[in-house]
Symmetry: C2
Subunit: 99 residues, 2 copies
DNA sequence: GAAAGTACTTTGTAATTCAAAGTTGAAAAA
DNA sequence: TTTTTCAACTTTGAATTACAAAGTACTTTC
């Protein structure tokens, strides 16, 4: 017997990125500072994880101003949704085997 | 709101170790070559992942001979069971939020 | 004009991952 | 009895990843 490790998405192996995707999957958009607060990360670290997800085209970035303050919103893309769903399915299968 | 990233176990972040734990959770024991075959890894790579899990005391190692050949068996410990269960619970919660 | 806030980027260091090569000890083959 | 083989590692080295901290650019508020 063999197990394919490729059912799991490398981009979601890190728990910060897993959580970011989880948040963006259930919220139509989320901004930088709210994510930073939610996940308790330094801004540099958060920015680099977001960049990694953007590089995979799993999230999109929209910059604007709210009042006079700059605001960056992150949203999941269709590609991101598909990939995340597939990853969760793989995790679910693994969990199911345990029961 | 805040999310604790610590609900996820660092030792299980890597998908090789996640799969090893999954196999050992449902099999009372598994040997080196069977794991190697199952996961399609080089022996060095597998040995290092097993060592990482042993270091956490999540698995135990039993060396013996089968016929005249050396055989190393790996088994999950109680500590490993508890940690793995907790990790799966965290994953399950994350999945549940998506539905 | 100084300080503060947003959202980065850069820098530097430490940790992680992996393949490949080397090692050990016992057994089988020559 | 020397050699080869096999199991199960350990070591090495290189690439990648993760993270904090510091630096940057632009703007606004004091």
């Amino acid at each position: 017997m063999r197990i394919s490790l490729e059912q799991f998405d490398k981009a979601f192996e890190n728990r910060v990125r897993l959580q970011i995707m989880s948040v963006l999957a259930v919220n139509s958009a989320y901004d930088f500072n709210a994510l930073k607060d939610l996940l308790q990360l330094t801004d540099g670290n958060l920015a680099s994880h977001l960049k990694a997800l953007e590089k995979e085209q799993y999230i999109s970035i929209t910059k604007s101003f709210i009042g006079r303050k700059p605001n960056t919103q992150y949203a999941i893309t269709q590609k991101g949704k598909d990939a995340f769903k597939k990853h969760l399915q793989a995790l679910e299968n693994l969990i199911k085997q345990q029961k």
